[in-house]
Subunit: 136 residues, 4 copies
């Protein structure tokens, strides 16, 4: 995934610096992977016999999936200067990933999908934090 | 729209306070209307002969549409306590609306779609600000 | 909502026929309202004590919400001729609304949110059908 | 990406057949990669000096990105039986990818981002076709 994202950043007429490009591609890939994982985790939670104990997890998964998808799209757009928008979405995404990871970690010993989802959330949280620091 | 949103909030088993409900429904409606207006404005800009002068407007429209759609969904979800996520999305949405409104206002004297879009963005920015203040 | 959608269609430089415009605005509004209602119904189902009996309803709500949101966006875009895309999305949206309405109707006597959601799905299904017939 | 998607399908309590799983994971990955590529292509087109010649390409990119994102999410959800919804979204996605590929191919000799986007669309179109055939 990161390979394809980098190829598209390279093909962009706007000229993005090569150092930034690597970090940017990593963050976009982390967002899209986290979104897919959260969607899958919410659906797996729905299919568990213990779904009644997992409603908070499903809700944060749904929020996190939506927010990661949009963060990936906002970061993909390089035309025009909207660093204020990118920064505020990275902050929202970092928050959503942290909340969702903390929730999934509670169920990680019981459900492999929660364990994998917590990992994807932490990776995305880290990627957002790193990109945010490079922007400031 | 607000009427339908309120009816669904009333039907929610979670029990949302009635004062909050009005402000919440107003903000959800403002987000969804702003998202649709930004999608329409981006498409109208694309169809203008002067599209080359409107690329920054199209980009902010696309970001704002995505962010408003997701903010509307996050605010609609009341199960579980994720006020940190809601707050960070409201901040991102307020930022996106402010940036998009400022950009559309530059073209409002030339293009009715930009004038209407700037208005929708300002309404949504105000609704997010008001809801944020009530949450803190 | 329909009023704002129509105002944006009127402001589009592409020139959309006025009869089509009314039907188009109605369908876009029905899609966006159905999307919001399905998101709210999924979340209300999650908050019910009987959530284990509502997992199929939550799943169709989530699918239907996503599909209606995208159908509303595709229909809003008038630049370029992509009637094949619009037609296939209207068909997918009609299908999703019919499946979701049938599922929600099973729970409508128990849960007001399911009753309202079934109504929104049927309205959207009808609007998609009517628009599809006008396009062929 | 496909590796992570497969890991989540393996962790799903619903029990998906192992042959189907590989084809499903490939299709979900193709959808998400196509969505990201279309978002990047639309933004790259916006940044070209010749943007006025690329408005149809931008529009189909935007439609295709939205539709691929939602198809990826619908296919990820395995709880409940909504094969009618999955099938209709696969058909819409196949249509959108075919239309977008044909448009991008016109500009592929001029713009590397259009060449890469056409490739991603054709891969996704093929993956949807293959999955559709396995479902019928």
């Amino acid at each position: 995934m990161t390979h394809h994202i980098t190829a598209m950043l390279n093909a962009h007429p706007g000229g993005i610096g090569s150092e930034d490009k690597q970090m940017l591609a990593t963050c976009i890939a982390a967002c899209l992977q986290c979104a897919q994982t959260c969607t899958a985790c919410a659906d797996s939670c729905l299919a568990e016999n213990t779904v009644a104990d997992l409603t908070r997890c499903i809700r944060t998964d749904l929020d996190c999936a939506d927010i990661c998808t949009v963060t990936g799209a906002v970061l993909t757009r390089q035309t025009g200067d909207s660093s204020a928008i990118a920064r505020s979405m990275l902050e929202a995404c970092r928050t959503a990933c942290a909340v969702c990871a903390a929730e999934c970690e509670k169920h990680a010993h019981m459900h492999e999908h929660c364990r994998l989802c917590a990992e994807a959330c932490r990776r995305c949280e880290d990627a957002c934090t790193e990109l945010l620091e490079s922007l400031s």
